[in-house]
Symmetry: C2
Subunit: 616 residues, 2 copies
């Protein structure tokens, strides 16, 4: 991943090109290019669903891949995208049968009401052409129409440069677009009916864009892609490292995200039947590192303790300066951050939840690789970020996978094990919500105890027979089989290992410890917590009882825990639609205290304790 050499891959028949570091798996390169390939087996060369045809440039297939494909296919250039690594310029044909059809990207969250006042106006200006008796300058002709409506308009030199031509070419019948009284576009004829904006949730894994009508506040389309930066590193630390140690690294990370944002806008605009030229405003929320990279801000300081960002304030710049293909001079607003690891995405969550408005003591948690969270208590906001690791995103767990078809998403253990999977397909792995469910049920069934230790075969005498059979001892330790290979979609047992349990303990322990530390720092007590908001995909699909059972969140009544969906994206939409909401976002970011867990003695103590599972 740290090789300087970037190589070009062209995916066919799409014709999409992408530059990736030599050595990148084809499956990752495809994701970076927005070409999504099936991977039910989780990339272990067993399902064979990711067949592609390669013209040169890749490594030689290893024994496992050769075995799966056979000599004829190998001779024809067929490869498994999950195995083949690209070494030099290459063309890759992706057949329809290998394409992934379903993206389970969380895009919807109920948007609360707001007064739509985006700061964008469109004004039809029907003027007479200048003549010797009326030599008013071109811009001032427009200004005089605004003055008649008791409105101001300020010039923007980039629009002024071509103003004369567009007025003359259109007989002085144009639509004038302004943002906060500044001219941002002049368009041919009457285009007043089209006024759109796009709100982005720029996640490290997925990028979601919401195309909104800036008049009505209606959502017109949602589009999403995987974050193509994943090809440069799954987590933020490796992306920061790539940005700061590789020549041109930061530029490459920025460029692929700009491309992805443009792709999202294009797809959403196509779905809604509008033009991206009619997108006059964009808002972006994301973690601090993502937005720093996008804005071209040096991220060196984000990669070293004390992890200080260059700026927390919101930044607005014109779309064309950022490389976005929206209306050239339209504003792109990146929402404010709280700290290096508490980004504008959490600010979006707070904004969407009317954070300060209901007087209750509330906790909002957005669980990703980092657990970003905030507590509202007694008129103050306290925030922190816990390095939970990617267990709840399915990474680092032996049968873990992201939420997608065939992922076990709920588990019930009684006399035997009952599972459900996404889209009811044969199980191929365990996503975050299934993982939490499985552990909660194993705790209840006594398969693991509060220390996380799994029963050995000899200790399992009291379990129902159907469960006992699922406990197996391997060289690496104990395993509990959730789905046997005869029933699975990839011919392998889907199980949880003792090591998986430990990883979950660490992840849930760090999040719960952070919650407790926030509560203590605020001077609150556990029983004062009125409400917990769970944001993000994991928070949306998780079963609350199970989350409490494993001790991921404090034990409060289930009714007090709310899944708020992609609240970060909802916050971005509110800030897009309303300047008042944007002002609130600014105020929320500014007023939030940030707690550094690394120097909190409380946190270390809590972590020791919260790694255990709660007693029933």
């Amino acid at each position: 991943m740290n090789d300087n050499k970037l190589v070009k891959i062209t995916f066919q028949p799409d014709g999409v090109e992408v530059f990736v570091p030599a050595g990148t798996l084809l499956s990752k390169a495809a994701a970076a290019a927005g070409v999504f390939i099936e991977s039910p087996c989780g990339g272990v060369a067993t399902c064979g669903k990711c067949r592609v045809v390669v013209s040169g440039g890749c490594d030689e297939p290893a024994a496992t891949e050769r075995k799966r494909l056979g000599d004829d296919e190998i001779a024809a250039g067929v490869r498994l995208a999950c195995q083949a690594r690209v070494l030099a310029e290459s063309k890759v044909m992706v057949p329809d049968s290998s394409r992934s059809r379903v993206q389970k990207i969380l895009s919807s969250a109920t948007l609360r009401d707001c007064v739509v006042m985006s700061g964008i106006t469109k004004t039809l200006c029907e003027m007479s052409a200048p003549n010797l008796n009326d030599e008013t300058a071109e811009f001032e002709r427009i200004e005089s129409i605004f003055a008649r409506q008791n409105r101001q308009i300020k010039p923007n030199i980039n629009v002024i440069r071509k103003l004369s031509k567009i007025l003359r070419d259109n007989d002085y019948n144009v639509t004038v677009v302004t943002h906060d009284d500044v001219l941002i576009a002049v368009e041919k004829g009457d285009t007043t009916s089209d006024c759109y904006g796009i709100a982005y949730d720029l996640g490290s894994t997925t990028i979601v864009g919401y195309l909104m009508d800036l008049y009505t506040g209606t959502e017109l389309a949602v589009s999403s892609v995987m974050n193509p930066q994943m090809v440069y590193g799954d987590d933020l630390v490796s992306r920061i490292s790539f940005a700061t140690t590789q020549q041109g690294g930061a530029e490459a990370l920025k460029a692929v995200v700009v491309d992805a944002l443009n792709r999202v806008a294009r797809e959403a605009a196509e779905a809604a039947g509008v033009s991206t030229d009619s997108i006059y405003k964009a808002t972006i929320v994301g973690n601090t590192c993502m937005t720093h990279l996008l804005l071209g801000i040096d991220v060196t300081s984000l990669g070293q303790s004390p992890y200080v960002p260059s700026v927390c304030a919101d930044i607005t710049l014109p779309a064309n300066e950022l490389g976005l293909s929206n209306c050239a001079e339209s504003p792109v607003v990146v929402l404010p951050n709280v700290a290096g690891f508490v980004g504008s995405d959490l600010v979006g969550v707070l904004l969407a939840s009317e954070w300060k408005d209901n007087g209750r003591t509330r906790l909002a948690v957005d669980i990703g690789t980092n657990g970003e969270m905030a507590l509202w208590y007694d008129g103050n906001t306290y925030s922190c970020s816990a390095a939970a690791g990617p267990a709840f995103e399915g990474a680092g767990i032996s049968c873990g996978m992201r939420g997608g078809p065939g992922a076990i998403d709920s588990v019930q253990i009684g006399e035997s094990v009952e599972i459900t999977t996404i889209q009811s397909q044969a199980p191929i792995g365990l996503c975050g919500s299934g993982l939490v469910d499985a552990i909660a049920q194993m705790l209840d069934a006594g398969i693991i105890d509060e220390t996380g230790r799994m029963l050995s075969v000899s200790q399992a005498g009291e379990l129902p027979a159907a469960l006992r059979d699922r406990l197996v001892e391997t060289e690496a330790g104990m395993e509990f089989i959730l789905a046997v290979k005869e029933e699975s979609g990839n011919g392998r047992d889907i199980s949880l290992t003792a090591m998986d349990i430990r990883r979950v303990q660490l992840a849930k322990g760090s999040i719960h410890a952070a919650i407790q530390t926030l509560i203590r720092a605020a001077g609150a007590s556990d029983d004062e917590l009125d409400e917990i908001l769970l944001a993000g995909a994991f928070g949306n699909y998780i079963r609350v009882e199970s989350a409490i059972r494993i001790g991921l969140i404090p034990s409060i009544s289930h009714e007090q825990v709310k899944s708020v969906g992609n609240a970060a994206g909802a916050g971005a939409r509110l800030a897009l639609l309303s300047e008042d909401e944007m002002a609130q976002a600014r105020e929320l970011a500014k007023s939030a205290a940030h707690l550094e867990l690394a120097v909190s003695p409380d946190y270390q103590m809590e972590l020791m304790e919260r790694m255990l599972f709660p007693l029933k």
Copy 2:
């Protein structure tokens, strides 16, 4: 001049390169490159003072030049810069003996007092580095210092991008520069003592820059160059034509002016011993066409009736966006225009003269190729522009020249003719003030009558003998010799022809007619005029009595006529130093009514009348 091909000339030993249209005279190309070559004879191959040595790329010398140089010099590559035309890439050596030492560029005007409040602040920020107990973001560290001083600061993404590095490299001891509360620079250590600005008068002939201390309002240095656009056309009409008909023409015109502005800043900064990086603000006045070209605004509409500009409002953009080598993010403010041919230079004149403050009825006239003028009457400003032609700049007059060594600048006719010249050198031509003087004296002496007709030899009997001898009849008509060739610096008679008189009548008539039309349009009467302000070089050097005698301006008491020097430049300096003054400039431009002479029946009538000379 309309040839698409641009060729490169390198002037040695300066090493300065310039691109000019094939066919350009070397003397013009040199001016464009800022290499000033002597031309006492006015470019007619007689004085031989403009010798240069050419390596290839020029046309063949014609007979007159061969005669002046001789075969040895021709063989050695010697050419006269006033004759040689460049055809292809060429190197030109300019010996010291051919270099022009004196530039008579009007740069000084008394600057009235103003409250210095430029909007630029410099703040020494000595901060502690972030640590785990203080993770405030870099920008917000600066913000907190400002907050302690009850001040705001807003981020600028272009500075933020490198903020972290500059803070870390300098142990968090930096000087922060803001403009109107927006961050524009962060500098190493304590640079608070250096805070400069530059005010430009961007004329079509000359560019003057005033380097000012933004703390004290003191003028530190003045520098000037010829406007290098002259190589693309002497007058505005030919430059507009070049910009709109030649591929890349507008870009070339912009680029040479940006270079010239940078050269002026560099020279002024060197003279004052400061760095151009410490120039944090610039203001620019100029005619509408000049500033449109500089800003990259399409000038097509300025080249066609009704001569409408794209914008009159003032425009501010960052130095680096314009290509200026001042502090990268520092503001460059182009002052507002009134109309297509009433530019921000006239607004500068009005600002410098405290236009509305003294209750008198005042007329301000800036005479160049166009006579731009404004009248203040009964609480309103009326403005117009008269196409006077370049006679008063010495162009189109047989012995005319710009103000420079050897130019006749005053004439006294009694029993004989007495002249003075600039720097008391042998006369080689007649500059504007000398021209007006000569005609006034010839009127008084009866050598011409009020219709502009010159005495014939037969009618000259009553003249003193010494004058009579100076009246000569040529094929082209009558001539009056001001300096005989035996005394002149170029071996030729310096004289005024009947045709010259007609040209002056047309020029002065159009200006005076414009004045009268303004007075009428305002509803004023001639005797209500309390004051006339004459701005610019011509206005500064002209003898008021003579200007009144020939009917260039209305006949009022000499004490009521004031030469205000380069008042346009003074206005630029005031707007640089004070945001209040800038607001006044905006108000002056906005409130000035503009009168289009082309559709004024009054003007046509006045013009008929004012072409005559007044009776004594």
